[in-house]
Symmetry: C2
Subunit: 149 residues, 2 copies
DNA sequence: ACGACCAATGTTATAATGTAACGCTCAAAT
DNA sequence: ATTTGAGCGTTACATTATAACATTGGTCGT
């Protein structure tokens, strides 16, 4: 999806929900969408500074915080990167698969049965899970040891 | 379990496995075990410096790396803390529940069926999961909004 | 015993990530 | 018209982590 169209769509959604997609926030989201890859806050900062050289870290972090809170992006904890959420009908996070070797990230879909089971196990410890804010570590297809034939 | 006994047990295990639990590594593990709570690398450093004032960050990070690699401790990615793995029969990580409010952490047990299902979903994306290196975000019992009766 | 080797550690310096605190502005609410 | 509060600018700093190189100390082959 073209970034401009995507931003427009997010903008519409924000109007509906009475959220303010300010120019800063839109710019940060656009940068993440255009790259479509996990970026560090300072990667985003560097991009922003192309447009507005005086931008400082808190500006970026504040925008990221807003975008995370409303599920437009996800914070990848294990690599300190930020990624646009793959969107189906609505804006929501997805469980992430993190390759511990090459650090690549894939968004995963879990069945609703499986989500219920996870809720159940978490509930045994008194926890209520945020929907789909999970990270799983493993090895991606390219980083798995090859079979010797 | 008393820390001295625990360290002894780890030491025995390391001998069996031909791993070297050096004094540094043992000291770091003992600190984490004694506190039995998620500690930052610099918390550990401060403790170590009580015993050996000239200790520097790389010493701690190297010990942590060893301890993580062999599953004696886990790195909590979302809070940059380190925690002794709860041990059943063997040394292995556990899925973690992280409270996004108070940052408390609980180790969770999943059924083996559930683990298989997770492997299945990850496999659809070509991923092979490391056993139980998962983090789930949610709210712990104390941080959940109360029902108004 | 001797030296070659290698893993672990010591040491210096710095990189990368994230935040506290304060003040300004501007639009919305009263 | 004032008040209020969210968003942002700015300074300074805190926290987390690592690169790079020197040193030590034990193990192995000869």
């Amino acid at each position: 999806m073209i970034t401009a169209n995507y931003i427009q769509r997010v903008n519409d959604y924000c109007h509906q929900q009475k959220l303010k997609l300010t120019p800063n926030r839109a710019a940060v989201l656009a940068i993440l969408h255009k790259q479509n890859a996990p970026l560090s806050a300072y990667d985003v900062l560097a991009e922003l500074q192309q447009q507005q050289p005086k931008t400082k870290p808190p500006t970026v972090y504040r925008a990221l915080e807003f975008l995370i809170q409303h599920h437009f992006i996800q914070h990848i904890e294990s690599t300190s990167r930020y990624l646009v959420s793959q969107q189906q009908e609505s804006f929501a996070p997805h469980p992430l698969l993190i390759c511990t070797d090459c650090k690549s990230v894939t968004q995963m879909n879990l069945s609703s049965e499986l989500k219920l089971e996870l809720d159940h196990f978490a509930g045994q410890q008194g926890f209520s899970l945020h929907p789909q804010s999970y990270e799983f570590q493993g090895l991606c297809a390219s980083c798995q040891p090859r079979q010797s034939a």
